[in-house]
């Protein structure tokens, strides 16, 4: 299997697998966040569960962290290898004639997402971990919803989140169907899946944007 990851195609397949995992996680994250808009009580309950259930904390959370790290590290490895494969740069290159901007700039949209994720982890994940595992505080009865609403009082944070999700949408507009192709499927080239990909890439990030803006205008 380690030999497989040394092959160009093996790496691409691993890249796509990690991407599928991230896209699935994003759906789940989206569903939970939506609760914060429609039902603060349900949001608090699910947040407590996700933050304190041992299976989630010690089972799924490490898998997620591994998935994220694997994806961006592999992204960088591929980018470095691809740069090395190029010869002298063309004096004139008309990339737009044969490919989409989003497909040619996955590394830049990806790096933007990575920067955002550092910011985002620092906002929510690190304080959570410190509270639970360093300070050893109980989260029973914690008002997660109020914390979220408070965080989005800051307009700068809202702007950062909105921009980050625009970049995520751009990343996914190519990535969604690309992942099927990497896995050796041709489904990603069919109209149906292209449309599903477009819907996913626009609706999910847009949803996150709406949630951030909603909390900005609805904090009490």
């Amino acid at each position: 299997m380690s030999g497989f990851l040394k092959s160009s195609i093996g790496r691409k397949i691993a890249m796509a697998l990690s991407a599928f995992f991230l896209m699935f996680f994003l759906l789940q994250h989206f569903a939970i966040n939506m609760l914060s808009v429609f039902s603060p009580e349900a949001f608090n309950e699910v947040s407590y569960f996700m933050g304190n259930n041992p299976l989630v904390q010690y089972g799924l959370q490490p898998v997620l962290l591994f998935g994220v790290i694997f994806h961006f590290v592999m992204g960088f490895i591929l980018e470095i290898k691809n740069k090395k494969a190029q010869g002298v740069a063309y004096a004139k290159n008309n990339g737009a004639a044969n490919s989409s901007w989003v497909s040619r700039n996955m590394i830049y949209t990806g790096v933007t997402i990575l920067l955002f994720m550092i910011f985002h982890f620092n906002d929510f994940w690190v304080p959570e971990i410190v509270e639970k595992y360093v300070e050893g505080k109980s989260q029973v009865g914690k008002d997660f919803h109020a914390h979220v609403a408070h965080m989005f009082e800051n307009p700068i944070r809202v702007v950062v989140y909105v921009l980050a999700f625009v970049f995520l949408a751009l990343h996914l507009l190519h990535g969604f169907t690309s992942a099927f192709q990497s896995m050796g499927g041709t489904a990603g080239r069919k109209k149906v899946l292209q449309n599903i990909g477009k819907a996913y890439s626009i609706i999910i990030p847009l949803g996150f944007i709406i949630i951030a803006i909603y909390h900005h205008f609805n904090h009490h």
Partner: protein, 252 residues
Amino acid sequence: MSGKGMNLTLKIWRQKDAQSTGKMETYKVNDISEHMSFLEMMDVLNEQLIASGDEPVAFDHDCREGICGMCSMYINGEAHGPDRGVTTCQLHMRMFKDGDTITIEPFRAAAFPVIKDLVVDRTSFERIQQAGGYISVNTSGNTQDANATPISKHDADEAMDAATCIGCGACVATCKNSSAMLFVGAKVSQYALLPQGQVEAADRVKNMVAQMDLEGFGNCTNTGACEVECPKGISLDNIARMNRELIKAQVK
């Protein structure tokens, strides 16, 4: 014809040999007929250069009818120029207009080093072919007729489509990652679809991909640029098939 043709400015990559660092040079050609092929226009330039005692521009060509894959050139930012489904020898000057400036560069990729001017070394493709792009057939005198093996129309058609790849390297030249996956995908596919290719299928894909990596080609990001620029319309589906073949070879 005289007086009605196009006057063009050409910016061409000149490089003495593999060791030299080249640079872009500017030339003028006049009275170019729109019916000429791009290579004929290059011939006009070269005659002009020879007449004035200068070194003609070296470029690859052979059949001049779109079947050998020798002609290369990156023209105005695209492999084989702005037209679709053609090689440079099939590109007509009617794609350009009087007064145009045309930028002409060699195919670029670390695995395609420049030999001279617009000529690049594409033997890396040959080494990939040698790594597995063949079938072992008994040629001892009682060779079976290939037609004796029934093959579905669908598979035969797809194998034939893949086999139309002429190994020109436009896919690599176009790819932002200098990936050779369209070429290798086509070469793997043309056998993967046929019964004769099954015997060595697993080794073939493993060895050809390994050689492709060894030659220093990049990884596919599925931008699809190769498929657009390929003169033979080789489909991206062939890359997906190669990936499937490699997964299959792994579990075998």
